[in-house]
């Protein structure tokens, strides 16, 4: 059965703040082989105007993927079969990089659902702000639920 299009536009409760640690950013930067000093050295980040180390461009996925998975993919009313899901598209639009010390809140929304050829396509949007409401980054993921065999 195709995914219920009445979910389009549904937003979930703001998540508990994710506290971004300096060592987490360093660990992530090392894992992707990035050596930019602004990811590793607080002094280098301060020199370009940030309070602490900045995160690489795809770091926000750590914050958004787990919360949108828990809230949307595992929403029993929506009924996604994750064993048939593949990651289709990914997009980030930044106001500024994530900085160590940020406490980030996500509001996850089902932006679009379409079905064709037996496959379902769902775009989720995660609006990531600081606890005080400053916009940091918006993250979109398109998930493809392949048709049942």
């Amino acid at each position: 059965m195709p995914l219920d299009q009445s979910f389009i536009g549904r937003s979930y409760a703001p998540t508990e703040p994710y506290l971004v640690g300096r060592e987490k950013i360093r660990e992530f930067a090392r894992a992707i082989g990035a050596t930019d000093r602004e990811y590793l050295d607080p002094e280098a980040a301060r020199a370009i105007g940030y309070a602490d180390v900045v995160a690489p461009p795809t770091f926000p996925i750590i914050v958004t993927m787990s919360s949108s998975h828990a809230q949307i993919v595992e929403d029993p009313e929506l009924g996604i079969d994750y064993s048939r899901v593949v990651h289709g598209d990914q997009k980030f639009a930044y106001v500024r990089p994530i900085v160590a010390g940020d406490a980030l809140v996500c509001v996850n929304t089902v932006e679009d659902i379409t079905s064709r050829g037996g496959h379902d396509f769902m775009t989720t949007r995660s609006d990531v702000t600081t606890e005080s409401g400053e916009k940091v980054v918006t993250v979109w993921a398109k998930l493809v639920q392949r048709g049942e065999e």
Partner: protein, 132 residues
Amino acid sequence: MTSENSETQTFRVTRADLVRYAGASGDFNPIHWSERFANSVGLPGVIAHGMFTMALVGRAVTAWAGAADSVVEFSVRFARPVPVPDTDEGTEVVVTVTVKGETDEGHTKLSLVATCQGEKVLSLAQAVVRKR
């Protein structure tokens, strides 16, 4: 390799990189570390996290821009998996960044191509960066 408005960078990817990325990102899907599991869901073997490939492309983008905080927008479509054999050499992802013009805000538009074994693994990949 550099031409007038494009730059190419090659990234080696091994199983150890995938294990490290799994730990750092929290994405422990076994298709990225277990051959047995990957085969059981119809894959030819262990494949890289799509987000790991995107992170490598992000390195090429920030390297092109010359600043770690220069990216305004960044988007990709995962077109084909990146198989990573259990060898010392692993595989290679080749990323080419090409200037595609300017946005209304005066930022630079970049078109991004990532290939593995000569095949494109991303489509519709692009970024917008502040001018270098």
